[in-house]
Amino acid sequence: MGYSYAPLLFVVGFALVIPVAFVLLSTRLGPRRPNPVKTEPYESGIVPIPAPERKFQVRFYLVAVSFLLFDVEIVFLFPWAVRFRSLGWFGFGAMLIFLAVLVLGLIYEWRKGALEWR
């Protein structure tokens, strides 16, 4: 059991070490001649208009919240789906009710207009 997770460590290790090594190598190989114009953030080729703060639209939070809800439900659903065959009709009924609540939530969101982008 423990062995089956061991490769994860290796992979994560590789996935961190190799890119870092590549980037370090590229900073050695590549030139480094920054100047004020070059290091300016790009805004269509002219001097950027300074933005005092970077705010997201509320819509993105709505998406994030809906995602959070559904993803948590899915996390609940997966273990049940794995054991579905052995749970029998009780599990079936319970999860149908759970799904129904989820669908109601979606319908509520829909009716409230949370899914509209404009």
């Binding site: 590229s26 953030p41 559904f70 982008w117």
Partner: protein, 423 residues
């Protein structure tokens, strides 16, 4: 048994003449073998993500009646290497106003998220780095790191266009994760396990044993998973986070050189991951028609290696077919708009994928597996699938032949680049 363990045991037995079960240093052998395995998986990513960029560009050239990269190496096949080296030699620019820690760390996070998923992909009967019992969930979880990475890139760049790209990609990726998870849930219901090898094992080598043709709901789930996968991979028609004509490449606009390359690298690797997950979940994975997994496990010596190689080839072939389909879709369709993208997800895919999971549930409860109804369903779905695939192949072939004839007529003519006259 995992091929890693098998090889490690073999190593211990043959090299040190010890019994792996009792030898105290077995774990070192395991570590070495697993390390090599992880390195091989990494090499696969690199080898796949590199040349597939060239292949995609050649295919795009063919689709668009032009040539594509053909200068570096025979038929331009070293183009990806040249591009990689070029990125290595580029200046690593950091915008002065950037949020440095976020900006610098974002490519690593994206890369780690992509690469982590390779651990649990079952490339062959025993060719898998780690057969986790939560494999599918693990893929969903670890690829979510990409969202964080893209958001960090968008935010950390402190450029307005990059912020747009980052926010767009975050909204898009998290939204499409819901339908893709529901579609995969239908598969989990059928297989009764989250382990990737277990899901492949629950299917068979013949198409009627694949999950995609088991019943109509799974067929629908496959299509929805495929659409969501394209969206999660930021591919056209869902490439809004990097729409160059709208937000000028989005989150990676301030990146250059190697860091920029990691984003592209992750994008192409992601394409493969999505295709591989679709293959293992719906298309029977590495299963060899007519050969049961037990027979492979019992095989010894070269037969064992042969079966592994064949299963590997089958898996890669299926995955590559899907990758080509994704490429072809990319060069066919225009891009969606951001509101249409969200509506497609939340108003169509989410309810429909929930419906398909519920449908699978009902069919499982009502239809006995192996019964008449089950077989009729499988046959009908297989027919539908074959018709779709047949029509697709016929259409592609007709276009290809017409094109080839046109190119033939040009042979021997003095052409300038690109061929401008198709007689």
């Amino acid at each position: 048994m995992n091929i890693m363990h098998y090889l490690a045991d073999l190593l211990v037995r043959s090299l040190f003449k010890a019994d792996p079960a009792t030898w105290p240093y077995t774990w070192i052998a395991y570590a070495v073998v697993i390390g090599v395995g992880a390195l091989l998986a990494f090499a696969f990513v690199a080898i796949f993500a590199g040349p597939v960029t060239w292949i995609e560009r050649r295919i795009a050239g063919r689709i668009q009646s032009r040539i594509g990269p053909n200068r570096n190496g025979p038929q331009g096949c070293l183009q990806w290497l040249a591009d990689g080296i070029k990125c290595w030699l580029k200046e690593d620019l950091v915008p002065a106003t950037a949020d440095k820690p976020l900006y610098l760390a974002a490519p690593y996070l994206v890369f780690t998220g992509m690469f982590g998923a390779f651990v649990v992909l079952p490339f062959g009967a025993h060719v898998i780095a780690a057969d986790l019992n939560v494999g599918l969930l693990y893929i969903l979880a670890v690829t979510s790191l990409v969202v964080v990475g893209l958001l960090m890139a968008g935010w950390g760049s402190n450029s307005k266009w990059a912020l747009f790209g980052g926010v767009r990609s975050a909204a898009q990726l998290v939204s499409y994760e819901v339908p893709s998870a529901f579609s995969l849930m239908a598969v989990v219901l059928m297989a009764g396990t989250l382990s990737t090898q277990g899901i492949v094992g629950a299917q068979g080598g013949w198409p009627w044993q694949w999950f995609v043709f088991r019943n109509p709901f799974l067929f629908a789930a496959f299509i929805m998973y495929f659409i969501s996968a394209i969206a999660e991979g930021n591919r056209t028609p869902f490439d809004l986070p990097e729409a160059e004509s709208e937000i000028i490449a989005g989150y990676n606009i301030e990146y250059s050189g190697m860091r920029f390359l990691f984003f592209l690298f992750a994008e192409w690797a992601n394409m493969w991951i999505m295709a591989a997950v679709a293959t293992l979940a719906f298309l029977g994975g590495w299963q060899i028609p007519g050969i049961s997994p037990e027979r492979i496990a019992e095989a010894k010596g070269w037969t064992f290696v042969g079966w592994q190689a064949l299963s590997f080839a089958i898996f890669v072939f299926k995955g590559t077919c899907l990758v080509f389909t994704i490429i072809q879709i990319r060069w066919t369709l225009p891009r969606l708009r951001v509101d249409q993208l969200m509506i497609t997800c939340w108003k169509y895919l989410v309810p429909l994928s929930m419906g398909s999971a519920t449908g699978v549930l009902l069919l499982m409860a009502l239809v006995r597996e192996g019964g008449i109804v089950d077989w009729v369903m499988r046959g009908a779905m297989l027919l539908v699938g074959l018709l779709v695939a047949g029509a697709y192949i016929r259409k592609v072939r007709a276009t290809f032949m017409a094109d080839r004839d046109n190119y033939k007529k040009m042979e021997g003519r003095d052409l300038w680049y690109p061929p401008y006259r198709l007689p």
